[in-house]
């Protein structure tokens, strides 16, 4: 459903991505792993339209994305959870979720989606009138994911959802991701927590210095020698 082909991209004079190609199929859970500064976040920014490629193409459900403004891409069904969640701290949990359903497509089903999100994350329902700024790190991440789900994504992009969370919370978040995927949402997961990501994903890409250097099923990459030595110690 999503296809990147030979994407180059960067900021000003600094090129970050060099010919990145990757694919996410319908209902798939794909991980993108690699060291810091390899270009993982940049890849997500390209897909969600926050950054435009200087070469190559991005297609989603057969449509070209490279010229679409970011807000239109959300409307098409690609929704990104940015690193750190970036919830709207000055607003209540519920307002955050409402904003998630901003697009016309999502707004129609706002009430049902919100029920679903509250089912997935009962903690958010308990705190629905609390300001998002008062939430703990784990709760913020849940809110960020919940907010993205409110947009009725076909493809969910997750940027380091485990970052800065306690191990027990990481496990919870990863379970939620698996659950969301089981319910039919395709997921592209960027993670530094490589082992957990590879265990979770059906397929994975390894990115280094802005280039895709490996691809395979999660299990295969887990046993792959260079990946083991580089990331799993």
């Amino acid at each position: 459903m999503l296809e990147l082909e030979g994407v180059n991209a960067g900021y000003k004079d600094l090129q970050v991505l060099w010919g990145v190609s990757l694919r996410v199929g319908e209902g798939e859970l794909v991980a993108l792993v690699g060291p810091n500064g390899a270009g993982k976040t940049t890849t997500l920014r390209i897909i969600s339209g926050l950054l435009k490629p200087t070469a190559g193409s991005v297609r989603f459900l057969g449509r070209q994305l490279d010229k679409e403004p970011a807000h239109r891409i959300v409307e098409m069904g690609i929704v990104q959870v940015p690193e750190g969640g970036r919830v709207f701290t000055g607003m209540s949990v519920q307002e955050n979720l409402e904003l998630g359903a901003f697009t016309a497509r999502a707004r129609k089903e706002k009430e049902q989606t919100m029920k679903w999100v509250y089912q997935l994350f009962p903690r958010l329902e308990e705190r629905r009138h609390q300001r998002a700024g008062t939430l703990s790190g784990g709760e913020r991440q849940m809110l960020a994911i919940g907010r993205a789900l409110m947009a009725k994504p076909r493809l969910l992009l997750l940027d380091e959802p485990s970052f800065g969370l306690a191990p027990i919370l990481v496990e919870q978040i990863f379970e939620m991701i698996a659950e969301i995927n089981r319910q039919g949402v395709a997921v592209l997961l960027v993670e530094q927590n490589v082992r957990a990501a590879l265990e979770l994903a059906q397929r994975a890409y390894v990115i280094e210095n802005g280039r895709i250097v490996g691809e395979g099923s999660g299990d295969a990459l887990l046993s792959f020698e260079s990946v083991r030595s580089a990331y799993l110690g």
């Binding site: 807000h71 959300v74 990104q80 701290t89 307002e95 904003l99 901003f102 999502a106």
Partner: protein
């Protein structure tokens, strides 16, 4: 000092302070959302005042009834100014954006001031409908009807804006964009449209404020800088992103000025506000009531 005099000065301070609040809230909205610091806000307010002056003298339109018209005029002017000038800065990093917008606003202010000078001469102009002189006297305190009405209208505008920002989807999108435009984009919000809307909303409020100033006081071409400074003072006292803070800031400024006029000298009423402003800047740069959202 007689009590009525104190009460009178308090009342005049509150009456003008509400207008300070209204003038500031437009500037605050624009700055909070777009990070454009438009120092020609006072000149836009002036244009609002002259619009109703023209409407009144040329077509006999009642100034209060004409508020929507002068707001509409300022929406058009705001659209032009934004699309032609400020939209070009919108993608700059915040610091550069503020700096450049200050310069652009400064130049624009000069331009508008001189255009006003050509169109309406340097004279002080007021709007004087039949009821202009009517005064309500409460316990010896004289309250001109037009100024009381202006106060009420200013309150209504601030309340309406508050409700709009808190309750409507568009209002929430504006607040979201103000906090984190990138995250807002990822919600499917067209932030460029939000920027445009906020800017135009700000100029429309300047238009309303200008009308109230013209009917309760007077307008002249050099008033722009004066009102920009009032708005900036209120902004710094009330903090950005808090409408209630802006209103309170405006009232405090108005009352302080009136007090200064009574106890020091009328000549220094505007100096006192500026001095407070500098103090607040230095002591509490986030504003006295600084409810910076987030």
């Amino acid at each position: 000092m007689p009590t009525t005099m104190v009460a009178q000065s308090l009342a005049s301070g509150i009456l003008v302070g509400a207008l300070y609040g209204l003038a500031a809230v437009g500037l605050s909205l624009v700055f909070g959302v777009t990070k454009i610091l438009n120092v020609s806000h006072g000149e836009l307010l002036m244009l609002g005042g002259y619009t109703s002056f023209w409407l009144f003298t040329l077509f006999g339109v009642d100034p209060f009834a004409g508020i929507p018209l002068s707001m509409f005029a300022l929406v058009i002017i705001g659209l032009i100014v934004y699309q032609l000038l400020f939209s070009r800065l919108i993608k700059l990093p915040t610091e550069d954006k503020i700096r450049t917008s200050l310069l652009v606003g400064f130049g624009l202010g000069l331009m508008l001031q001189n255009i006003a000078l050509r169109l309406w001469t340097a004279d002080n102009r007021g709007i004087t409908p039949s009821y202009a002189g009517a005064v309500l006297t409460v316990l010896g305190v004289r309250l001109p009807y037009v100024r009381v009405a202006s106060l009420v209208i200013a309150f209504v505008f601030l309340l309406a804006l508050q409700l709009f920002l808190q309750k409507t989807y568009t209002g929430k999108a504006i607040r979201a964009t103000a906090q984190d435009w990138e995250a807002a984009t990822l919600m499917g919000i067209n932030v460029h449209r939000v920027y445009l809307l906020s800017f135009v909303l700000g100029t429309a409020l300047a238009g309303a404020a200008g009308t109230l100033v013209a009917v309760g006081y007077s307008v002249e071409p050099v008033m722009g800088l004066h009102w920009t400074l009032k708005a900036l003072i209120v902004l710094v006292m009330g903090g950005i992103g808090s409408i209630a803070g802006t209103l309170i800031g405006g009232l405090i400024l108005g009352v302080t000025e009136s007090a200064a006029a009574v106890w020091i000298s009328g000549n220094y009423r505007h100096v006192v506000g500026l001095a407070i402003f500098i103090l607040v800047l230095l002591i509490r740069p986030q504003g006295l009531f600084g409810a910076k959202e987030g």
